[in-house]
Symmetry: C2
Subunit: 305 residues, 2 copies
């Protein structure tokens, strides 16, 4: 190839593929101190940052196992609290979920190590919180509220704050003023383009005014925003009854769901690498060349100061 | 005073006081080419930038005379289109107002000079559009749509895009995606803190989800955002029936309305000075020290890139 034909090397990022670490899923029963958990941890000896992941309304914590495995395989311990579906439904409109997830956070330093594989240690100085749908809002609320733990980053996967601007369950975190959230840690938001669209007469699960866009608007920099334009609100779930339920009731993407899970997983890994491990490279690459992701991300917005 | 007592000089900005230029208000009847106008122009010989100002729903264009005089006295020609109140009410839910205001813009290069004081000339290379309430949205729509004139800046005074997220009249400019407005010119937004609050059972005139915050969210940088936290949706109007109407139906500030008009006028002058005259100083000062304004502005957000 002559010099004139030379093209710059295409950017790539390994975060969109499974990481090198083997991982193990661990289901933990409810105890007197905390609700039930689904933990996904690397099995290799080591000390790893932790992220608490809050499931969406009417979705179990195990319905995100592919996503959580993807992230954990890059060297993170995922802790996904989750009561049985009935309890989850009952607490849809109250503070209970926030309180019970805050309990899990407070319990983790003493309680989590014993539940992990041998010689795997959680690094309690490096903690992020995140969640999907209503769980995304709960994650923001956890980050805002005072806990004994220092939370270093928060992310939402198609986060939703309610049924509409005027119908928002507690805790109502929005004020509809730009950058007003009382949150001084880095924020990442993945939105879906189809989540705000009604399916026939069924209202959307991530309506305009209470979805990803408002989370972006009310967060302070640094904010990292990614819109999965052609995907729907449930397209990052495992196959299973909950996915088929969302597929029935909401618009879903025509593209591969596996690629959506890889995209969400990769973005979360890039964000957590940057903010918990000081490894900025992949987050920078995605910002500069969103086409490195396996799905279309449009727009990608980094607001760093 | 010893050196150790020395304090840095307090920042000041003259934009919040009337400018040095005498101004004249000119009411112009409707013609075959365009709707009626209220023009406020400096009387001193000169060439001045122009701003088109679109009134709010159910408010006449002359109800902003104090605000428009304030801005014009700093060397701008204000052109405020306005049909009689009945026509204005009839076109609340359609494209008519956008079209008729676009007509005014297209008519200005040939038609405006003859209506101005002797030896006053409009500088048609320096045009901004702005408006209050629904007129703020129309201003954004004008800036987005193609006209024969180059529009260099757009501003909204408590702009409103509809009654709710799900009840927005044409043109529906929002997509509920951050920074998606097809608008590549500087934007300034003044919001009111009380405009989104209901008064007893009367719904707010500037509801959450369709007000200043969403205009901020969907605009691309450079954006200049100012929240008049303690004032209401109609607190920049002249005294008169329209002001008393808004005072009856909406929450209004307890502070001086004169100061609110000075604050809005001063912000508009600082913004137009920066974007139409390359005089950046006052806009910079307000951003660095919002307390130079005669009312509390909180937050003040400048997003320049």
């Amino acid at each position: 190839m002559s010099v004139s034909d030379a093209k710059p090397a295409l950017a790539t990022s390994s975060v969109f593929e499974r990481g090198n670490l083997e991982v193990k899923g661990i289901k933990v029963e409810k105890s007197a101190e905390r609700k039930a958990l689904f933990i996904v941890s690397p099995t290799k000896d080591g000390k790893y940052p932790v992220f608490l992941f809050v499931h969406g309304c009417c979705v179990s914590n195990t319905a995100y196992s592919q996503l959580l495995q993807h992230v954990a395989s890059h060297g993170f311990i995922a802790v996904a609290p989750g009561d049985p579906l009935v309890s989850s439904l009952l607490c849809c409109c109250g503070d209970q979920e926030l309180d019970s997830d805050a309990n899990v956070l407070d319990w983790m330093p003493d309680g989590l190590p014993a539940l992990l594989p041998d010689n795997v240690t959680p690094d309690m100085t490096k903690i992020a919180v995140g969640g999907h749908s209503r769980g995304g809002k709960i994650a923001f609320a956890l980050a805002i509220s005072t806990t004994n733990l220092k939370i270093s980053a928060v992310f939402g996967v198609d986060p939703v704050a309610g049924g509409s601007v005027d119908n928002r369950p507690q805790p109502k975190i929005f004020s509809y003023i730009p950058r007003c959230l009382d949150l001084n840690i880095p924020v990442a938001i993945i939105g879906t383009g189809l989540g705000s669209q009604a399916k026939c007469i069924i209202p959307p699960f991530a309506p305009c005014g209470v979805n990803h866009a408002e989370f972006f608007n009310e967060s302070k920099p640094p904010i990292y925003y990614f819109l999965a334009k052609d995907y729907g609100h449930g397209d990052m779930l495992d196959d299973g009854i909950e996915y088929w339920f969302t597929k029935l009731l909401t618009k879903h993407g025509q593209g591969s769901k596996e690629l959506m899970i890889k995209a969400c997983g990769g973005i979360i890994v890039a964000f957590l690498n940057a903010k918990l491990k000081d490894e900025e490279e992949d987050l920078r690459i995605i910002g500069e060349e969103p086409s490195v992701a396996p799905i279309k991300l449009d727009p990608v917005l980094y607001v760093e100061n």
